[in-house]
Subunit: 425 residues, 2 copies
């Protein structure tokens, strides 16, 4: 008998009919002889509706109260899902994050899981029930307050439960069939992957792939949790996300491809600090200031020093939402940093090609540059990790660039992928 953790996003439980459909799937898994623990998001638009209500009531921010408000969402979906399962003749019990022992730090709206002590979940499962746990939420022991985990929170809840329960697999149900070589909405011939290593998935998620959230992948990798990303709208096998260090999961063929996926991100802006004196500590000063403002700096490129001025240019990308703030910060700290001017550009796109095969295959970057060159696309910035090459291009050529790279690396499928509507949280 296996212990399976399943996660259903908001689009999978959008209304009473969807909830009944999900309940049926859970009951089938249970009746196949498995123990089942489920993490569930709030129903479809609940989150947005609650946020709208909050905005209608006051413009001020009240993080504690907002968490109290938002957690009502999963409370509703989890209770309804438990009822629906019971209605199908299988016992079920729902648990809030707090009841499920999801302990977080005290940061409202973006809490991090500190530990999971799922005593009541274990008891329910031992008694033969399906345990339904509210995704996205936890509680802080320190403050005795209810918290939410922020973006991708329900995925993280599922993975954390799987880790603490030592589950055989954590199934992430979503509105796409699995992890694709690229976003099918941008690259119609994108191909579903049967499996991908967690290391590659981490790079893809960090580079803009939306199906799995970075934090959940990190958590899974750190705790050796095997993920199965699949559609709640079909019975097809999805994509297994695994760590080869823990062995190859049954049924997974190690893929031969050098590149396994291409991700992209449009919501970044490039900031260039022009004419920074080429002396030790200057770059550090910049990123110290930006880092203290809690801004996530991604690519950083420093040009070679210009001999005539003994100065250099430093470029980096930040989320567009933080862009203006960073510019202000740099202006306010002109005395510490020293520079001649600042450039801001939010019409950029970031593309990352990811593949563990890069480690043992030379010439990947050459192939990438050639493909973009032949498509007539200029490269603004380049950065690489062991298994990833990222480039920045103009935003308006993103789709063309993705297509060119997808074809060049032999990822194109024979037929177009099916795209479903909706998103989860």
């Amino acid at each position: 008998m296996a212990l399976i953790v399943q996660k259903y996003g908001g689009s999978s439980v959008a209304d009473a009919e969807s909830i009944k459909r999900v309940a049926k799937r859970i009951v089938e898994t249970r009746k196949a002889g498995n123990d089942v623990v489920v993490a569930v998001s709030a129903m479809g638009d609940t989150t947005d509706e609650l946020l709208d209500l909050a905005a209608a009531v006051t413009p001020i921010e009240a993080p504690r109260e907002l968490d109290m408000l938002m957690t009502a969402g999963e409370r509703i979906s989890m209770a309804l899902l438990a009822m629906a399962i019971k209605g199908l003749g299988v016992d079920a019990q729902s648990f809030t994050g707090s009841q499920a022992g999801v302990v977080t730090n005290a940061t409202h709206g973006a809490a991090r899981i500190v530990e999971v002590s799922p005593r009541r979940v274990k008891e329910a499962v031992a008694a033969g029930a399906v345990a339904i746990v509210a995704g996205f939420q936890g509680f802080s022991k320190e403050t005795a307050e209810v918290t939410t985990l922020g973006r991708g929170g329900s995925d993280t809840t599922a993975v954390a439960l799987a880790a603490s329960l030592d589950a055989d697999v954590c199934e992430i149900y979503t509105d796409v069939d699995g992890i694709f070589t690229a976003d099918p909405r941008q690259v119609p011939l994108a191909r579903k992957l049967d499996a991908i290593t967690s290391e590659e998935m981490l790079e893809l998620a960090a580079s803009g792939a939306k199906v799995l959230h970075l934090r959940a992948v990190e958590f899974a990798r750190r705790h050796g949790v095997t993920l199965h990303v699949r559609s709640s709208f079909s019975d097809q096998t999805g994509t297994i996300v695994y760590d080869p260090a823990n062995g190859i999961p049954e049924g997974v063929n190690m893929e031969e491809s050098i590149i396994n996926g291409i991700a992209s991100e449009k919501n970044e802006a490039k900031i260039t600090v022009v004419g920074v004196p080429d002396a030790p500590g200057r770059a550090a000063a910049i990123f110290d200031i930006v880092g203290r403002a809690d801004v996530n700096v991604d690519m950083i490129v420093q040009n070679v020093s210009r001999a005539d001025t003994a100065s250099t240019d430093i470029s980096f990308t930040v989320p567009v939402a933080d862009g203006r703030r960073v510019i202000e910060l740099l202006k306010n700290h002109g005395d510490v940093i020293e520079y001649s001017s600042l450039q801001y550009d939010d019409q950029i796109a970031k593309i990352a090609v990811v593949g563990a095969g890069m480690r043992t295959n030379a010439g990947v970057s050459a192939k990438l540059f050639r493909a973009l060159y032949e498509a007539g696309i200029n490269i603004d910035m380049i950065s690489t990790s062991e298994i990833r090459i990222s480039v920045v291009t103009r935003a308006d050529v993103l789709d063309k660039a993705l297509q060119a790279l997808h074809t060049a690396f032999g990822l194109d499928a024979d037929t177009e992928a099916v795209v479903y509507a909706g998103t989860g949280r």
Copy 2:
């Protein structure tokens, strides 16, 4: 500085605008120098919407999960209300029943409050914040489960908080201006009472008056909590509900009337057990059986024994919803009870006239019977307590009977009362 507990029902917080209006009222009370603790119901139709969702998902009953579901309602309203208050520059914190220390027994859907340990509420108030507590909900220490209090639950929460915090007054905000001498929808000349004793209020609530729930009045009386029932749609003083044993509250004139109110109830059925042998223990047997089925028996009348058959008829009223079940029970226990036939009548109405002045004024029942006689109304059953006379009439003459009694006891106002729409929970 006074400590005021305020309760707002669902119609008072039906939408964002209403929540802002209520927040403004709370802030005014706070700025007038009072400490304020608020019990709040779920927004307007939330309760019905959640019940509809539950029904759409499964026909089965799942009391634990239903309580989990329903408690999401106050979670939403309390968080929004706290935000709205903070938006007006006054600190506020919301608390679930559990966080507010509302301990109940383990009966899902109809839990009874066992104790209230509002440590966190006190801390919030001591720190200068308004504490917003979810009405209608608590938790069982025994099972560690979330519970709901059933009908009138939010009123009870408010009163229980007022008792445990030793509040100066518990203000029950509703959609009418206070307690009326009769329901203004039935008796247009009904008059708002400035004050009424808790003993009279208890009789009125038990006899069908809907403004305050019986349990809340009982709780208030038992714990010496003075209530102020008033409209959240106006600034007018409402009705003070007090226990004279604790002294007369400031501003209250002891009313001179013999009768203070008339209540009625249409949702009762009369059951008559005909031809019961007139021997000891026969009535006991009947009410033993009915009582074990958790049916609330109200009026009981036993006719004098008929000498010819040495048998008697026993009539009693039960809620219509339980009527058929009771008939079945009596049929199934025919061997124990013995009777010649059963009669069932759900076309009845119960009227109660209530007034503490009855104790010291003879002739009240004579006046009542004469008024009904003059209006051409037959009386089916009669029962009395120290401060109440109840009669059963045909349902179709209820309004006429109410009007006749209201006039006969001098309760008519000079002008018609204003009636608002909506209900609370």
